[in-house]
Each structure stands twice: as C-alpha cells, then as structure tokens.
C-alpha cells in the first residue's frame, strides 16, 4: 500500500508544494523558488524556457543540482539533507505532453497501472469510478490508438489521478489537440482542478491557456521567474517588458520620464500621460492592442489625453477581429513602418474603413503601463 493510500484522500489542511531548485541546463540555469497551494498554477514561458524541466524535477524524473522540494509535510528532495525520493515514491501525478499512454494496454489497464498493489476488486472499482469521472464509459476495452486526442488526454488524466496523487503536473496538456477539441478538454481540466484541491501545476506556452486554466501565474524566462502572482494582476500590470511580451502585449516602447510628469515613448515618437506615475522611473511603456481606441467624432476628443493622429500602414484579418498597424506620423506611414498595433472587432472596422485618414487614436492613460525593465 505504498503508492496508493486511501486514508490521505480526504482534504488535508496544509496542502503546499514548495520548490526551491537550481539546475544547470545547456544554455542557462534553471533557478526558481515558489510555493503552490490548492489553487491551480499556470507556468507560462516560451519554448525552451525551462518549463518542462521544472516539472520533471518536481516529479523526480530529473535531479536538480541544488535545492529543496517539499510536498505537504514530506521532503521530496533536499541537497542539504541529502534526500532524494525516487519518482515512484513521490505520489505526484504527471500528465505528459503526448500523454504517454501504454500502447499495449487498454484504457482500463492503463488507468489501473498505478493500482497494482490493491486487491483486484478495488482496482476495478477505482478504475470504473475514474472512467465515469473522465467520461470514458464504453471505451474501457479500447487501445489508446483507437481513441481520439481528447479521449487519450482524459485517459491519461484518469491514469494520473488513479494513484490519488498529492500534486498534479500537466505538461502542455492542450498542445497536441486540434483547436475544436481544446474547449472541451479545458472544461474537463477545470472540472478536475475544482475537485482536486491540491497543488496543480500546468505548463504552457500559450498565454490564453495559462490565463483560463490557472488562478495564479508564474512566468518563466530563461530559467528564472519573471513574474509570479494572481493572473489578473500580471496581465494588467506586467512587471517587465519581457513579461509583457510573454503575456501577449504587442506594443512595447522604450520610455523616458519627463520632468513635467509625462512619459516620452521613444519608439512611438509621442508624449504620454499616465494615470499614475510609478515610483521607479519607467524604461519601457506598453499598451495592449485591443486597448487602443479610435475616436468616432471630433467632439469626443474634448478634454481627453493621449490622442494622436494616426495612419493605417497595413491590416491583418482574423475571423472576427482585425489587426491595424498604425503609424503616428505620415512620413513613417508612407515608408510602411508602423509604430503600434491595434485590434478592433470587424463591426467597428466596417464603420471606419472608408473614413479619411488620419484617424485619431487614443492611448487611454489607465490602459498604459510603465515598466522599470
């Protein structure tokens, strides 16, 4: 009964995964310290930022050079105390990027793999419960090959949950799926997280997935934590230009504070007023593409700040929205060099498209964010 212990299935008061590790990788050092509780944590980073390595270190599949990993009251790894619990003793469920289902075992046999030490009837009962929980009824006797991508993912999730893990690690859980399946699988994951109530880490390079599935967000860049906190906070006020980029901000300019309280956006050649001047002088300033507004009438401008004439350099369409590449001065517009990207719904574009240029763009002070680095 080592790997599956029914007694700990109930809600424990102290569910914490604490990670503080260093590991030298080929191009940089993975060096992170954070704590995850029962709210799901999204780990966002570009590919090769060390995200998967972080998960593998926590799962015990890789050995950090230094540091300490504790899960609830168990020390899983500690270089100071020379502790290194093997992966099979950690009771951490891991969902692999391509699911890693055993191809020679049926769905039911895959799910029951971690239940090996239980009596047969209990194995069957647990497997049946997981099958129904992950909506796999009727597919128990199929081989992984005979399942759709979404079904494979659910089977892998059921298999990881079967050992009643104390933490769950998901490595790019949606990247191998077709777009139309993602919504469905996301719903399943949200359902799982809601009932799991133990540390769950989800690694992704997709900022929208990171936002939808996690409560808290950890942004990883070249092995280091670039941001960590509530997701809304990080998306609204990215602490650095790197985090702004990773969270999908298209407009970032070098900046310099003026003595009159305005900020000079050096790459956009304009002077901006912020809602609130930050304590540390900004070196970058940013605004999200969908926050750039276009004024409908001349009268609307009265008393407003940060309004600039703009010329459309080119456009790029997506099914429902359109991206406009803007220039704030006509010479650069003529040269085909945009300053900013704005994103508007097609309806608005249809109303605007034939109006004479320049239009008037508004970079609302409350939408601008200044960044110290």
């Amino acid at each position: 009964m080592r790997s599956v212990c029914a007694a700990s299935a109930g809600g424990s008061t102290d569910v914490t995964l604490e990670v503080q590790i260093e590991k030298q990788l080929a191009e940089f050092t993975l060096d992170v310290a954070f704590r995850a509780t029962e709210t799901p944590l999204s780990v966002l980073g570009a590919s090769g930022a060390g995200k998967s390595m972080l998960l593998r270190c926590i799962a015990g599949l890789e050995r950090p050079d230094r540091g300490r990993i504790t899960l609830n009251d168990r020390i899983l790894f500690d270089t100071a105390q020379r502790v290194g619990i093997a992966a099979r003793e950690r009771r951490i469920g891991m969902l692999f990027q391509h699911y890693a289902l055993f191809p020679h075992r049926t769905v039911a046999q895959n799910i029951a793999f971690g239940l090996h030490e239980l009596p047969r009837d209990e194995q069957a009962a647990r497997t049946a419960a997981l099958v129904s929980r992950t909506h796999l009824a009727g597919l128990e006797q199929r081989y992984p090959r005979e399942l759709s991508g979404g079904e494979q993912q659910r089977a892998a999730l059921a298999r990881a949950l079967a050992i009643q893990p104390e933490a769950l690690l998901l490595d790019e859980p949606l990247s191998a799926l077709d777009t139309h399946l993602r919504g469905q699988v996301e719903a399943q994951l949200q359902e799982t997280f809601a009932s799991f109530r133990r540390p769950a880490l989800l690694v992704t390079h997709n900022m929208e997935e990171a936002y939808r599935l996690g409560e808290r967000l950890l942004v990883l860049a070249r092995g280091r934590i670039a941001a960590f906190g509530p997701k809304e906070e990080i998306f609204r006020r990215p602490p650095s230009s790197e985090v702004a980029r990773l969270t999908g901000c298209k407009n970032i300019s070098r900046a310099r504070a003026n003595s009159d309280g305005t900020v000079e956006a050096l790459d956009w050649a304009c002077r901006l007023r912020l809602a609130q001047m930050p304590a540390t002088p900004p070196t970058f300033i940013g605004i999200r593409a969908h926050h750039i507004d276009f004024l409908e009438t001349a009268g609307e401008a009265a008393g407003e700040q940060n309004i600039f004439p703009c010329w459309i350099v080119r456009t790029s369409e997506t099914p429902f929205r359109i991206t406009l590449f803007l220039s704030l001065d006509p010479a650069r517009a003529a040269a085909g060099e945009p300053h900013l990207q704005a994103e508007v719904f097609k309806e608005k574009w249809e109303r605007f498209r034939d109006r004479p240029q320049p239009w008037r763009a508004r970079l609302a002070p409350e939408s601008l964010f200044a960044m110290p680095e």
Binding site: A100, E117, Y143
Partner: protein, 226 residues
C-alpha cells in the same frame, strides 16, 4: 543413419539460445541507462565474438576452460572438466550467438519511448516491473527476432565448437561438424543428407519468423506502433 548429430545440434542450440536470451536481455537492460567510456568498452567486449573468427573464439575459450585456464582450474576443483564434452558445445554456441541477441535486444529496448517508462515511474512502478510490463512487451518483436537469429547462429556454429568440444560422435558431433568430417572421409551421401536437414530447419525457422512477424504486425497496428 545415426541421428545423434541432429539431436545434439537441437539440444545445444536450444540450451544456448535460452542462456543467450536471458543473458542478452540482462546485458541490454543493464546497458540501457548507461553512457561513457566504461559502457562503450563493455559493449565492445560483448560484441567481440561476432567479429572475431570462430577459431579465435574457440581458442580463447580453450585457454579459459583448459586444464591450466582460470575457469578450467576452478571447475577441476569440483571434479569437472568441460573441454571435449557436450557442455562445451553449449558454451561455444552461447558465446558466438550472444552478440546477436545483445545487439537486437538493445536496439529494441532503445526504441521504446522513454516517456512511457517515465510515466510508469510516476505511477509508482518499480524498475523491475517497468521492465517486465512496459519495456519488454513493447520491445518483444525485436527480442524475438534476436532469439531466432541467435538460434540460427548457434545451430550453424562450427569453428569454436570444434576447438572447444572436438568431434566426439554421439556426444559433441553437431550437424556442421558431421558434415565437415563426412566430406573429409569422402562420404558425400552422408554430407548431403545433413545439408538437407540443415536447409530444412532453416526454412522452417524463417517461415515461422515470417508468419509470426506478420501476425505481430496486425496486432501492433491496433496499438499504433509500426
């Protein structure tokens, strides 16, 4: 006609293949998670019998198991001597067929997706269970092909067997040795008969391998591996 060479050949090859299967798998599993100069050296030693002339292998075995060899001396203390006895045919066949088993088993095990082994680890399985229930079933077609190759190689062994086991009719005379001495003694009929037996066995083996891999391919298509 005296059928003893057939029985001796089959018994020798079966025992040698069984030993080779276990030893080859163990060696391949041991080698799997190792790298570096030491492992490469061991690799070289394991594969050596494949590239050395069988007479050289036989001669080295003779030095090892002979009256003054280290293993020969050890065995002599228990009152045993393997040189020019039936076990010598098994030893010779095992040593020359081992590299084929080792190479194919290693290649088959290396082909197993490492993520599957890692997944098994996170699910609480011991390394022995992972080998038995994940790695081996997925590597099995390759391992079986290696087994058949090893059996065929053991069956055809001549040089090392002659050096170590000699030609004692009814005890160490295998089919290849019987053929050689039949030709030597100008008994062409007898040589031809044994050749026909050897060709027959080989055809049965290859046919069996073909049918088996075909059935296996159908099954693996269901698993989604090709």
């Amino acid at each position: 006609m005296d059928w003893s060479p057939l029985l001796i050949s089959l018994a020798t090859s079966l025992v040698a293949t069984a030993v080779t299967l276990v030893a080859g798998l163990a060696a391949a599993a041991w080698r799997q998670n190792r790298a570096g100069a030491g492992a490469a050296l061991v690799d070289g030693i394991f594969i050596l019998p494949l590239v050395l002339p069988p007479t050289v292998v036989g001669f080295l075995l003779l030095l090892l198991f002979g009256r003054n060899g280290p293993l020969g001396k050890l065995l002599l203390q228990f009152g045993a001597s393997v040189v020019f006895s039936w076990p010598a045919t098994v030893i010779a066949a095992t040593v020359v067929s081992f590299p084929l088993m080792y190479i194919t088993a290693r290649a088959a095990l290396e082909q197993v997706d490492p993520h599957l082994l890692q997944a098994a680890r996170t699910l609480g399985a011991s390394e022995a269970r992972i080998f038995r229930e994940v790695a081996l079933p997925l590597a099995w077609p390759g391992v079986l092909a290696g087994t058949i190759l090893s059996f065929a190689r053991a069956l055809g062994e001549f040089g090392a067997t002659l050096m170590l086991a000699g030609n004692i009719p009814g005890r160490t005379e295998t089919i290849p040795i019987a053929i050689y001495f039949a030709v030597e003694a100008d008994e062409i009929q007898r040589a031809m008969a044994w050749c026909a037996v050897d060709v027959g066995i080989s055809i049965v083996l290859l046919g069996g391998l073909y049918y088996w891999t075909h059935a296996q391919r159908l099954r693996r298509e269901r698993w989604g591996q090709h």
